[in-house]
Point group: C2
């Protein structure tokens, strides 16, 4: 891998949510995140074949408001917690701010999907989604 190599991530869609600002967003989905709509670009509709209501997915987002220069942080923005490397935390501030969100598909119509609790802000780009498998869920 030559140094300076970069990869181009192209959005496949966008999150539509009532969460408008970073200060409004819960730190984790289980802390009260609202339902959200994923507007997938119709060019990628074929990639949704077989995605069904009731299914659990991992949605990958690009946390576009993140600070990519941050390497260490105080977890939960609490100055009393020890300074911790971002790879040991779920902070959005990190070199490649990819968000992972476990959601349940509530409804799907064309390339628009309603999903359960998602802690990403309105306008957050979606870059991938995958079914939940045993590798991630448990072993």
């Amino acid at each position: 891998m030559p140094p300076g190599d970069v990869f181009e991530l192209r959005p496949i869609g966008v999150v539509r949510s009532s969460l408008r600002e970073r200060s409004d967003a819960p730190k984790q989905a289980f802390e009260g995140a609202p339902e959200a709509l994923l507007e997938i670009d119709p060019a990628f509709a074929g990639a949704l074949t077989g995605v069904e209501p009731g299914q659990d997915l991992i949605v990958l987002s690009w946390l576009h408001e993140a600070d990519r220069t941050v390497l260490e942080t105080h977890p939960r923005d609490d100055p009393a917690t020890p300074l911790t490397g971002v790879f040991a935390t779920r902070s959005p501030d990190r070199p490649n701010p990819i968000g992972l969100h476990r959601v349940t598909v509530l409804a799907i119509e064309g390339a628009r999907m309603q999903v359960s609790g998602l802690e990403a802000l309105d306008g957050t780009p979606v870059v991938d989604m995958k079914p939940l498998l045993r590798t991630i869920q448990e072993r």
Copy 2:
């Protein structure tokens, strides 16, 4: 989100593994993936503060041999399975080929980490890592 927007993903390290070719790699980590070494760029060593042996992490990779034009696939490369959208599968071929790998940290020395069963090929770029949380593991 203006159409044509792209984001730059910069590798933070690389996978060193005995898996050399895509045909050698198991489809999922629980299907016999070997231990691997993650060589993290020393520039990002600070982001590893607090990562400890025994900890479970989700490693995000860039599946550099993937075909990004594929939208539908036959799961497990079996032509008898119905054609399925890549977002309903874990196929590496997808618009943004980000791999998710659940691993256990076995040892860490500076910015080099030995990890349990990882199904990524030798030379696969690493782009992020996160602790496993309840959002992903269970709810």
